[in-house]
Amino acid sequence: MKKGLIKATSAYERVVHWGLAISCIILFISGLGMMFHSFNFLGTPVGGLKNLKLIHNYTGIVFAVFLVLSILMWWREAGIFSLPEDWQWMICAGGYLWPVKNPPEVGKYNPGQKLFFLAVALCGLLMVGTGIVMWFPYRFDLPVEFVRWMYPLHALGFFVIFAFFFVHLYLGTVGSPGSAPAMFSGWVTRAWLKKQHPKWLREEEEKGTLIVSGTHENHFSLKLGIIRIELW
């Protein structure tokens, strides 16, 4: 382990993130295969469109579980905007999309990430809700008019989540170099933090809770009721 790297995420955060991400991508692909006839071929590798439907349905359950875990884990940090500074950040997109001299400093999550979190949380719940009705349209004795509107709402949810997902993918990788390790190893550089999340870096340093590689030996901590054993 390189010295001087800073711990940005816990193992639990990364597991939940990737559980949500991978299930979401499987849902995108399998859903696409059913939404467009021209993508029907996506069912071929799994033995037909019916299997694709089953994969979509059961992956939906996995997605729902990780969605709930994500919301419980992130809503405090990423679900609440702090005004007016978040608004000022929004106006200049935090300097991510075009050069901005001094974008407002942000904490652990910037307002763009908060917006992404809220979009996934709300649309995700919409997808789970509409999806359950689509899976069992006649189990609950619902009026047909209601069942009918589940389908366009499901498509609308895809539209919103996919747009945010792709921007997130871009800004989490090549669009913002140094970001991706936060969700792989969990360790990021001080230079990256200083640029992207300076307020969080400062606050953690003031509190003395910053975990820097090469400075601690064995670290044992309890957080959110989850026991994390981190050895390095």
Binding site: W149, F162, V167, Y170, G175, S176, S185, T189, R190, A191
Partner: protein, 266 residues
């Protein structure tokens, strides 16, 4: 190939249900035991193994009497069929005769057609995880035969032929009958390929929509959101790429303690 229409003349129907039986026989749909519900109608509704049913209805007349009316209930074979629009697998499709048939092997049991249908016709069988409905005896009409129900009808209440001729015949018959008689089917959902000559007003008949349309939800979903989502997805992908090659990424400031980060890699 000219479009075909099946014409049902309510005034000539005696409720003998020969058509219902012929349908089961040709399509090999064995019946299941039902219980008496106090009606001659049997089975009570369309089922995965009952693709057409004669509805029996006791209609009160103005003078306090009761009139017994029959109606053949089956797929209407819409020209603008909501079920075909929503079907994800291409199982439901238009035939060269303008009718709506199913390719049973392609059905994935998503049930999307069931709520989309303005006539609530398709039926889901959980055992096969597929949907069933009348296909206007495609196996017969494609071999120059009329549908089994038409063949079996002893009174001439059912006729089958070219679309224009059948519609003309329907209107002539409705005119001849006079009173409340009307033609049902040629003026909505692009025109159905089963046309009724009704002796009663459509509003007086059970389980028959007065103004059937392709549901607004189906239009919002398949005509607007589907292309919109494709455009939207394409736009964010293209936009991200354009951003990368024009504006470029937001880089951390160079820091001598870590140079690799600036290069963007793990």
């Amino acid at each position: 190939m000219s479009e075909k229409v099946k014409l049902y003349d309510q005034s000539k129907c005696t409720g003998c249900r020969g058509c219902q039986l012929a349908c089961k026989q040709w399509n090999q749909l064995p019946a299941k035991q039902t219980t008496n519900r106090g009606s001659y109608q049997n089975p009570p509704d369309l089922q995965p193994n009952t693709w057409m049913v004669i509805h029996f209805q006791e209609l009160e007349t103005a003078d306090g009497g009761v009139k017994w009316v029959f109606r053949k209930d089956a797929c209407m074979h819409c020209t603008d069929a909501a079920c075909v629009t929503v079907c994800p697998s291409g199982c439901l499709h238009y035939t060269k005769y303008g009718t709506v048939a199913l390719d049973q092997k392609k059905c994935i049991g998503c049930k999307e057609c069931i709520s989309a249908c303005p006539f609530s016709v398709p039926r889901y069988n959980p055992e096969t995880d597929t949907v069933f409905k009348c296909d206007m005896c495609f196996s017969r009409i494609d071999n120059n035969m009329e549908p089994a129900c038409v063949k079996a009808c002893p009174t001439g209440a059912l006729q089958f032929g070219d679309k224009d001729e059948m519609i003309a015949r329907a209107h002539a018959r409705a005119k001849e009958l006079g009173g409340d008689a009307s033609v049902y089917g040629d003026r909505f959902v692009g025109g159905t390929h089963m046309i009724y000559v009704l002796t009663e007003k459509p509003a007086a008949l059970e389980r028959l929509p007065e103004h059937p349309t392709v549901p607004a939800s189906v239009i919002a979903w398949k005509k607007w959101l589907k292309p919109l989502s494709l455009i939207g997805a394409g736009a964010v992908i293209a936009g991200s790429f354009l951003h990368y090659i024009t504006v470029g990424p937001k880089m951390p400031d160079d820091d001598e303690t870590d140079v690799t980060a600036a290069k963007g890699g793990k």
